[in-house]
C-alpha cells in the first residue's frame, strides 16, 4: 500500500529525483486542490448518496431488518465508512488503500454475518450509481475506479452457510 508520492520516493532511493519524477510529483501536487474539492463534495453529499442506496436496498431486501439488529442503521454506517475510505484512496491516488485498511477486514465481517455475494454486489453497485447521480461528472470520474474496485472486492465472498439477507 503506497501512495504515488511514496512510490516515487522509494524508487529514488540513494539518488535525487529525475526530472520526470519531479514532474510526476508536481502533477500530483497540482491535482490536490481538485482532490480536496471532490472530498468536500462527497462529504456534503454523503447522507444523500447513502440514503439513496438504503432506499433502494429497502425495496429489494424487505426482509433484511427482520434478520439483523438495527439493520439499516448499520447498513448506513457501513456505506459511510466505505465511502470515506474510498475518498482517502482517491486523495492519495492509491487504489489499494481502502482495501488494505478497511475492505478485506470488513468483507470478513459481513461475510460471517450471512451476507451473500449478490447482496454485496447490489449494495456497492448502488453506491457507485448513487455517487454518479449525486456528484458532478468530473468528481465522480475521480472516484469511479475506486468505486468499481470496491464492488469487486466486497462481492468476492463465498455463499454463506446461512444466508441472512
Amino acid at each position: 500500500m503506497y501512495s504515488r508520492m511514496m512510490q516515487i520516493i522509494n524508487a529514488s532511493d540513494s539518488r535525487y529525483l529525475t526530472a520526470q519524477e519531479q514532474e510526476q510529483v508536481m502533477a500530483y501536487c497540482a491535482s490536490m486542490p481538485k482532490r480536496f474539492q471532490v472530498s468536500r463534495l462527497v462529504e456534503q453529499k454523503e447522507t444523500e448518496i447513502v440514503n439513496q442506496v438504503i432506499a433502494e436496498l429497502k425495496k429489494r431486501y424487505a426482509n433484511f431488518p427482520n434478520l439483523h439488529d438495527r439493520a439499516w442503521e448499520k447498513g448506513f454506517r457501513d456505506l459511510q465508512l466505505v465511502l470515506r475510505y474510498i475518498v482517502q484512496g482517491m486523495l492519495m491516488d492509491d487504489l489499494d488503500m481502502a482495501a488494505d485498511k478497511l475492505l478485506y477486514w470488513f468483507r470478513t465481517i459481513v461475510a460471517s454475518a450471512g451476507m451473500t455475494p449478490r447482496f454485496m454486489r447490489d449494495t456497492y453497485t448502488l453506491l457507485r450509481d448513487a455517487s454518479k447521480q449525486k456528484l458532478p461528472p468530473d468528481a465522480y470520474q475521480m472516484l469511479e475506479t475506486h468505486l468499481n474496485r470496491t464492488i469487486e472486492i466486497m462481492a468476492d465472498i463465498p455463499e454463506p452457510y446461512k444466508p441472512a439477507v
Binding site: 447513502v50 488494505d100 478497511l102 477486514w105
Partner: protein, 229 residues
C-alpha cells in the same frame, strides 16, 4: 451518534464499535523506532519479525533434540503461546474498541481474528462455523507459515499452530479445548485445516488422520462422538 436521518426514525449506527475502523489497518498498525530499534503496534505491544531461517532453524533444533516427541513439544509451546495471544487479543481489542471482547458480535470477532493472522504474516485464516452448533470449529489456514517453509512433509507441519488455536480458544472460552490438524499443504493438501473442540472429543482425531482418514470423514466421525461437557 450522528443525527443523519436515513428515513423517519432511522439513524446511522455510527455509535457502533465497527465505526472505530480496523485496528490492523495497513500503514498504521506497526511502527518502528529505528533509533531504539524497537517495533511496536499501535497499542504499544512490542513486535519483532522472525525470518524463515530462524523459524526453520528452531523447528529443526526441536526435531533433532526431541525426535518423535517433537510434535508434542510444538503443540505444548503453541498452547502456551495461544493462551498468551488470547489475553493480548482480548486486551488490545477492548482497549481499541472500548468494549469487552465478550460483547463483540461473532462476525466482528472473526473479522479481527482473521486480520490478526494476516497482518502478522501467519497465513490467511478462515474460520468455518458450519459445525459450531455441534461443538466444533474448523480453521482453514492458507499460506500457513510453517507448512509453506517446510514445503514437503509426510506429517502435518503446523502442529505449533494447532497448539496456538487450542490455547487461544481454550483461554477465550474457559473450556478445555484442543485442536488437531487434519490436512496440511506440506503433505499435498490445498490448505492446512484444523478442528477445534473439547479435548476428550478430539482424542482419536490424530489416529484417524494418521490412518489416512480425510478431513470430511474426520468431521463426520466427530459428529458421532459424544463426551460429557
Amino acid at each position: 451518534m450522528t443525527a443523519e436521518t436515513i428515513a423517519p426514525g432511522v439513524q446511522s449506527a455510527s455509535d457502533d464499535i465497527l465505526f472505530r475502523g480496523n485496528l490492523y489497518a495497513e500503514g498504521i498498525y506497526a511502527k518502528t523506532d529505528v533509533v531504539k530499534g524497537v517495533t511496536r503496534n499501535r497499542l504499544g505491544t512490542r513486535l519483532c519479525s522472525l525470518s524463515e531461517d530462524f523459524l526453520l532453524g528452531m523447528r529443526r533444533a526441536i526435531v533433532d533434540e526431541c525426535g518423535s516427541a517433537a510434535d508434542a513439544v510444538f503443540k505444548s509451546c503453541g498452547k502456551r503461546w495461544g493462551a498468551l495471544l488470547a489475553r493480548r487479543f482480548e486486551k488490545e481489542m477492548s482497549e481499541f474498541y472500548g468494549k469487552a471482547i465478550g460483547e463483540f458480535s461473532m462476525s466482528m470477532f472473526l473479522g479481527c481474528l482473521v486480520e490478526l493472522f494476516s497482518h502478522h504474516g501467519w497465513g490467511k485464516l478462515n474460520l468455518d462455523l458450519t459445525h459450531y452448533e455441534e461443538g466444533l470449529l474448523i480453521a482453514e489456514l492458507r499460506s500457513a507459515i510453517m507448512a509453506d517453509l517446510v514445503k514437503e512433509a509426510d506429517q502435518p507441519a503446523d502442529t505449533l499452530f494447532a497448539g496456538i488455536f487450542g490455547g487461544f480458544f481454550a483461554t477465550l472460552t474457559g473450556e478445555d479445548l484442543d485442536c488437531v490438524q487434519t490436512t496440511c499443504t506440506a503433505c499435498g493438501a490445498d490448505a492446512s485445516r484444523f478442528v477445534i473442540g473439547l479435548t476428550p472429543r478430539l482424542a482419536d482425531v490424530e489416529a484417524w488422520r494418521n490412518d489416512g482418514t480425510n478431513h470430511a470423514d474426520i468431521i463426520a466421525n466427530l459428529a458421532q462422538v459424544r463426551v460429557k461437557g
